[in-house]
Point group: C2
């Protein structure tokens, strides 16, 4: 997907919501166990009921690969279903990959050729040659980790790497030179919303993928206040709050309602800034 | 595998070699294409001919997952084969994973429960809670990235994070507090062999997994000189030089010879220090 299309989708759906498919076999409604592939069935129903409110879906790869070959089958079926039924959605592989060049090349093959994702999350620790191979695919994106939502972010990401700069800022400054706003985004967490101001000093034009709203405690209005730019520039991911709201046969309706409520909040924020 | 067993294996095999199974369908001998699973067939023959010279095998997960569900099947078959035929070998998933706690927990399930690896490589960028879930499994190991073998290591790993300290040193200092020498190793590259002295200042007792000897240009004698400790403390990985030495039906014999030559060099080094 190209940058312009993504911005148009945000405008037409009045939403910058990404629904996170962290599909855990231990947490999905028990009645789904009767299906051949309960994980896929869950994803199929969740995506069908939330797609109208979302500009993106994010699949957390850990939850699929923990089932081995079978899990990859669920992953493939889910990607195929989304591509067929919801072609306009931006599809993110939350994989946190990154390795030396010849290996990152293989990871890029996995998520961009074998599976038709639009974007993959990449860990910056190994530097430029772990990122460049992902740019060999046109209209595909790297989403580089900068400031994550967890407690452990403090261990290294907040270390001073210069007189007035922390590691995540160096990652933003250096990393943003490797691509452009057309093929790169950054992960910047909602759990430290005021830090989004600092993030925006370094990457005013790039999209940010923002985790941490919902179960992890981040606040949507603050994220919008500190993180938006002229093109909105935000994709806010919410997983557990939407997908695990109910464990009966109506779980997908409930997920649709939750996603709809969040879309309403997002629409109100977008209107405040006359984006719509 | 426990620490003591690993040291005993190094002593009895007179080797600290790890053979890297970066098995690329485009690089394996063409005659293997006739098998149902050429990747597994390659791995089966390579491991059978190199196991006597090696204390470890390292599977580069990117090369398997790029084939989707089928690739995970090859991975599972390879792990099963090694466990059955070469039970004393230390088995490393080179996966470079790491995410927030509930997700790292899933990655740990993948590599320690679903697949019976001894160790998984983990990226430190997300800090403590991305690492701790791997310690829930006894006799299993985290191998934390510190200083990698690629050019991009310079982008962030060599940044000053204190007056006299670089990021990879902070990772060693902080990371080594999360586990012990009994369940943690660090990746420290051969391509910057003199840096191993610095690494040893911070983690004198931990094992180091050393990539970069062979195709990437690192020197074995230097690695041993700067990196060894009283228990040897080194696992040196070599992939391409061993596994892609020949593309005929004798490729596995050639791989065995190459591994044997390296084992001889390692034995000579171990004897110099009266380790044997």
């Amino acid at each position: 997907m190209v940058y312009k299309q993504l911005v148009e989708n945000i405008r037409s759906k009045r939403s910058f919501l990404c629904v996170g498919l962290d599909t855990d076999i231990g947490k999905i409604p028990p009645f789904l166990k009767k299906f051949d592939d309960p994980v896929f069935e869950f994803n199929r129903l969740i995506t069908d009921s939330t797609a109208r409110y979302s500009v993106a879906f994010k699949l957390n790869i850990a939850f699929y690969e923990s089932h081995g070959a079978e899990g990859w089958k669920s992953l493939e079926l889910t990607v195929d279903h989304i591509r067929r039924k919801h072609p306009g959605v931006f599809l993110i592989a939350d994989a946190k990959r990154g390795d030396i060049g010849n290996t990152s090349k293989k990871y890029a093959e996995t998520f961009f050729r074998k599976l038709d994702f639009d974007a993959v999350t990449v860990n910056p620790y190994m530097g430029i040659d772990s990122v460049l191979p992902f740019f060999d695919y046109s209209d595909k994106w790297v989403i580089l980790l900068a400031l994550t939502s967890n407690e452990g972010a403090e261990d290294f990401q907040l270390l001073r790497t210069g007189k007035s700069e922390r590691l995540f800022e160096t990652v933003l400054k250096t990393g943003s030179k490797w691509g452009s706003k057309e093929n790169m985004m950054f992960v910047a967490a909602a759990t430290r919303a005021n830090m989004l101001l600092v993030v925006r000093e370094h990457v005013p034009e790039h999209f940010l993928l923002v985790p941490g709203v919902g179960a992890q405690g981040g606040n949507l209005a603050e994220v919008y206040k500190y993180g938006r730019n002229a093109d909105c520039g935000l994709i806010v991911n919410i997983s557990r709050t939407i997908i695990y709201g109910d464990s009966t046969e109506k779980f997908n309706e409930v997920a649709g309602q939750k996603a709809g409520e969040i879309q309403q909040q997002m629409e109100a924020l977008l209107k405040q800034e006359s984006f719509l």
